[in-house]
Symmetry: C2
Subunit: 513 residues, 2 copies
Amino acid sequence: MNGADSLIRTLIAGGVDTCFTNPGTSEMHIVAALDRATEMRCVLALFEGVVTGAADGYARMTEKPACTLLHLGPGLANGVANLHNASRAQVPIVNIIGQHARYHLLYDAPLTSDIEAIARPYSKWLRTPSAASAIGRDAAEALVAARTAPGQIATLVVPADVAWTDGAAIAAIPSTPKAALPSSDSVNRAASMLRSDVPTALLLTGNALYGEGLTAAGRIAAATGAKLLAPYPITRAERGVGTPNVQRIPYMPEQAIELLKDIRQLILVGAAAPVSYFAYPGKSSVLTSPECEIHAFATPGEDYVGALQALVAELSLQNRKPILTERAERPPRPNGEITLAGLATAVGALLPENAIVVDEAMTSGRGMMAATIGSPPHDWLGNTGGSIGIALPLAVGAAVACPTRRVLCLTADGSSMYTLQALWSMAREGLNVTTVVFANRTYAVLQREYSGVGAPGPRAAKLFDIGHPTLDWVHLAQGMGVPATRVTTLDAFAKSVREGFETDGPTLIEVPL
Amino acid sequence: MNGADSLIRTLIAGGVDTCFTNPGTSEMHIVAALDRATEMRCVLALFEGVVTGAADGYARMTEKPACTLLHLGPGLANGVANLHNASRAQVPIVNIIGQHARYHLLYDAPLTSDIEAIARPYSKWLRTPSAASAIGRDAAEALVAARTAPGQIATLVVPADVAWTDGAAIAAIPSTPKAALPSSDSVNRAASMLRSDVPTALLLTGNALYGEGLTAAGRIAAATGAKLLAPYPITRAERGVGTPNVQRIPYMPEQAIELLKDIRQLILVGAAAPVSYFAYPGKSSVLTSPECEIHAFATPGEDYVGALQALVAELSLQNRKPILTERAERPPRPNGEITLAGLATAVGALLPENAIVVDEAMTSGRGMMAATIGSPPHDWLGNTGGSIGIALPLAVGAAVACPTRRVLCLTADGSSMYTLQALWSMAREGLNVTTVVFANRTYAVLQREYSGVGAPGPRAAKLFDIGHPTLDWVHLAQGMGVPATRVTTLDAFAKSVREGFETDGPTLIEVPL
């Protein structure tokens, strides 16, 4: 067995069943190993930012790592912006990056680069196997590292000669270290905060935002009146009818400060203390009140679900029912002229049960979360790292992970352009993704941000204007095999969204604003 | 004057007149400075790989740096694959990357990253200004670093608070260190090799491949019978009627070995000794004969033109006329069914005087250089680092640099998909670029490379197949405002190419193969 086979077979033995890839010449032996490994689904993307973003989406929905296969330093380089997002999402990914044969590195051929240096900022674990006989073990350790809470990026740089050399073997997978629980002191402190009359909130992240973690948080909120909050960059949140209500901290600092101003105790469950996305001259980065006491109850990498359950036990709330969003009459579908509020209402009215909503609609999508609170239960995936161009790739990964669920990808013309190649992978794999492109033909965020600097002159204004020439998303989608339509009324929008949910395979709806 | 103004005004004072950009919130003060600085042309791209690739193309044609303006770590990350190519091209670029305000970094907001770590592998010079009062001087030093031979990437990481703080000033630009000449020993050794009867070649790179450098090399070749060679990854080569003929070393190792097998003395002018792109089991990476003596005559960063002129002087060839490619009757335009040979002949027949050919046509374009030897004089730009997705961005930069020249961008469906957003910038700026997309609907390079591993099974074959679904380049181009057509005969191809050359603004021609 050569190194490539032992790599792929070890990952399969460890439960990895999906490989997102854009391979090159130096990875041909690994491609051959994939060719032989029918247990691994291979998903090709035409740009590496799609590969890494899809691995992120897959991990968010399955809680387990996919592997990537990328071509040398440049292939990795094209994927690192979405690895930034994935590292902020704290999801498990096993990256496999081909490297030149070690003896070839001496010649500094054009594609030579220091792959470890490129990968290091994004990798919690990073190794270049030194021999074919070592690669199985290294793959197993990469897998353990990826699975280590809260979820990590593990990167294997595989020299071609290590991949093609015989004498390798499938390695056993060591057990993954169990995430630690907070100390009893930390539990006691959180409990005492919650028992007080002081306005208190829990700020949840990771798996505290769905499933058992969210249920435990819901019990606490119901019993103590504590608010449940999520950071603006949501990795995955369960929402809608039958779930405890969690409020997301708004992106805009003024709105975030307003939401947080009366909170005097903030209990962090995996999350960092809330700060503004950006700094502004003369403004504080901190969003909480100066009087707010912040308790890092469960720190990143601790067991958030276990921590919340321990807190439930300490407060004797095991039988307390969370307050769940109730099924209400769904709003009537709006009609007439396109408005942001109308679009949000339409999405709220149409979202099917168990949908996965991927949200990078930027300024155009700000009303979407409010409009979908009363929709059937669904998951919401956001941009965790602020690197724009995650939505379409995330949607690919989520749809690959959950073939029986419907994915609604809310995006915008500016953000979609960074990784539009994802549309091709959606078509290729027949993924059930309905993409909505809000086309305001501007970098509206920047237009607004510029107002802090002054009124833009024509030269600055031109840098925010992406409407000259107009991006035609119907053409762009059709060019990659995705059926698409442009809508100019709310009726047509609602009709297209519903048709999207009822159609097998991807569709795209452009909404000029 | 704030830091942002001093940065931009210093660069302008140093002769920088073009900024390729995709800015974000943390760069708003720099955008405001650009708004005020009418001497700087700002070119917006919708993806950062276009920004960096365009800066490369601009530098290749003007021999001076453009600046980029990129948004934090993720914006830089999206641009680094083409910075890999630019660093291999050894061209001057001044990167400006926004960073959070320094006090904001402490909070580890979502977009925080170690920008210096991301930039370091691609930057010969890298600095984060420590205060508004320092940024002018740092910009001046960045400019000097970028201009230092052979051309370097200099990266300035600009914290937002440094940009927005007053008390800055325009800095004087220090003089750029003069590139050194090879030692007289080195000149004498090269001269003695050329005086011998042993088969000798000069391997040229950088500015030895055009202008005075090429003329000097041509004199030497004419007098001594030495072959003139260029490495496969050509930065910029002057070719066609009236220029000395230079042969490019082929990409395929077998063909390269065949070309080099009889050469017994190889004189390197800036170039590295020729090696294969990739390593293959049991094959040597070295392409020259074991009996070939290699002399690193002018090393990277030395004065290639001066070195060749010193060699001309040493050999007393100042009045020797180079052997120049003569004007021949141009081949008749082929017609009938599409063949690769026919497409190449058509390009050879139609290429206008002073054209700039950007070549990333991969397997489909291999005959293009041979077919254009007898075309009117033109420049040829290649992929210097092997990171695929450079052609369209390079064409943007070359067209911005040379508005009176016609750019022919030869690319392929696989390679174009990495940075197709460049088409929008072409339309936006009305650039005279005629793009030809050879659409063989496969990663043909990989199909061929896989043959060294075995016959691909259906799973491997699927990873090389990019034809399901079919990429429709007419739709993709039109979606970004570029008029496009699909041709299915050589007549139609020739007609469209000619029309492209005669049209103001960009056009795209898809050639299904």
